[in-house]
């Protein structure tokens, strides 16, 4: 039935020394969670047989929830909109720690050494750093940008090499680097005037570049973490060519999945386009017209293709882009309100959530056939444990 509960039962039996059986042993490399945003639950899934193993509740308001994994890929850290930070044991399928650390939060990151969890908060604005083992609060970095009188909402937090966290301040238009080598005394370096309204950020897979997308203007802010003294520079300036923006009914999301070789694929804001950027020169390297305002542009492992989903009212569609050809080669209809997509680490499967059809569809990425459909209550994010081993996740 439920492997997690079975394990708990067997562990209990083993503890009372009355069990002849041993616990079911398994790895976590093919596990993942699907967020059921309204009921505050996670579905624990596995990608080998493509089945659900358990449901884990008690996680609070999971709208816009995101997840990072411990470096041994056993524990999931869940960041809820209600400011909750929960630690979930995948093998026992239960919550083993939870703190409500702010009124309104947006996401988080785990440090390079796996010992620290940082949470980005909207209200009160700032970043809080926790011990990954105990969830003890170690430091609090209020996001009082500009003249220091007003806290900004923190967005786009990412882990960087050297036990640093990089994040952006929405209202103030700043990028901060917090060095948490001494987690109770973080050292913060601030970059001001980086552009209007950064809405999300990403760090490139090697951990060298931090990119913040800008909502308030055409362009993207770029920080080279190897050469921070060079400051933040603007790339893709004026990609909208001065044309009136189309309304944006859902903000795009950025993450390290956007990079394919020496090309990064970024959602245009207010345009139905995916932008390509050469990561050697940071000059535009093409663009592809797509079905709507892109939300996630996710490169499939192997870097030949990217899958794109869209904002309301075009959110029943996923398009697949051939990266070398700079063209859309396939259109899928996984259901109403497609909120997220996640590839298995070698890219043979894509898991796609449809909020309004209450299901997750697993696609074979070679044939685009649906391999499995799993029921889920208003599913949003899908997070596989392979994220444990990637900078920026």
């Amino acid at each position: 039935m439920r492997i997690g509960r079975l394990l708990v039962t067997l562990t209990a039996l083993a503890l009372c020394a009355c069990a002849a059986q041993v616990p079911v042993l398994r790895g976590t490399g093919d596990l993942g969670v699907v967020v059921e945003r309204e009921t505050g639950r996670l579905k624990l899934i596995e990608t080998s047989g493509r089945t659900e193993l358990a449901t884990i509740g008690g996680l609070g308001d999971l709208s816009h929830a995101s997840v990072v994994y411990s470096r041994d890929a056993r524990y999931a850290y869940v960041f809820g909109r209600d400011g909750g930070l929960s630690k979930v044991d995948l093998l026992e399928a239960r919550v083993v720690g939870r703190v409500v650390q702010a009124g309104n939060s947006i996401g988080g990151a785990i440090s390079q050494d796996g010992r620290l969890i940082a949470v980005a908060n909207y209200d009160p604005g700032g970043v809080k750093v926790f011990d990954a083992a105990t969830l003890e609060l170690l430091s609090d970095i209020p996001s009082a940008g500009g003249d220091g009188t007003r806290r900004s909402k923190v967005i786009g937090i990412a882990d960087a090499p050297g036990n640093r966290f990089v994040f952006s301040l929405f209202e103030a238009g700043e990028i901060w680097i917090a060095d948490v080598s001494d987690p109770r005394h973080p050292q913060v370096r601030k970059f001001t005037g980086i552009g209007k309204e950064p809405y999300d950020g990403l760090i490139t897979p090697g951990g060298r570049f931090y990119i913040a997308g800008l909502y308030g203007e055409d362009g993207v802010a770029l920080l080279d973490l190897w050469n921070p003294e060079a400051g933040v520079r603007r790339i893709l300036g004026g990609y909208g060519r001065g044309e009136e923006k189309m309304p944006v009914y859902k903000m795009p999301h950025l993450r390290g999945w956007a990079v394919a070789g020496n090309v990064a694929l970024l959602p245009a804001v207010g345009r139905n386009e995916v932008l390509f950027v050469n990561t050697d020169t940071w000059a535009e390297a093409g663009r592809v017209a797509v079905h709507g305002q892109p939300v996630f542009v996710i490169v499939q492992p192997g870097a030949r293709r990217a899958w794109v989903n869209f904002a309301f009212p075009n959110n029943d569609t996923v398009q697949v882009i051939d990266i070398p050809a700079r063209s859309v080669i396939r259109e899928l209809k996984p259901g109403r309100a497609v909120l997220h997509m996640e590839f298995t680490p070698r890219g043979e499967q894509a898991w796609v959530s449809s909020r309004d059809d209450n299901r997750v569809t697993v696609y074979d990425t070679a044939t685009f056939a649906a391999l499995a459909t799993l029921p889920a209550d208003h599913p949003s994010g899908i997070f596989l444990t392979s994220r444990a081993f990637a900078t920026g996740f």
């Binding site: 309104n104 909207y122 859902k250």
Partner: protein, 113 residues
């Protein structure tokens, strides 16, 4: 969707008592769609519980003293210089006014199975 939840009835009757609703109050099925749209799609920026995200809170505590007609036109036409987009393509003027009143009174929970 044929039974009206209690919270809803209170919200609507509250708005009616204030003499605020036009004759064009949406039919029950459409109201359910609108509530779902507010929660899910407005919720993308304002939060599923509407307590705020990148966009501000839409809870009664935040909107209570705001003029319903001004909210109606913010919904319909967006706000220049902010991320608030125009929702006019997806609803009528009366529907936007009904949403404005409903938000001021507290959006009802969706009926759960």
């Amino acid at each position: 969707m044929d039974r009206v939840p209690i919270g809803w009835a209170v919200a609507v009757s509250g708005a009616l008592a204030a003499g605020a609703l036009h004759a064009g109050e949406p039919a029950p099925e459409r109201r359910a769609q609108l509530v779902e749209m507010v929660r899910q799609d407005c919720g993308s920026c304002h939060g599923l519980t509407l307590k705020g995200g990148l966009g501000p809170s839409l809870l009664p505590s935040a909107l209570g003293d705001k003029d319903a007609v001004s909210l109606q036109y913010t919904i319909l036409d967006g706000r220049r210089g902010t991320a608030m987009p125009p929702w006019r393509p997806f609803m009528g003027e009366d529907e936007a006014l009904w949403i404005a009143h409903t938000l001021k009174n507290g959006l009802p929970e969706r009926e759960r199975k």
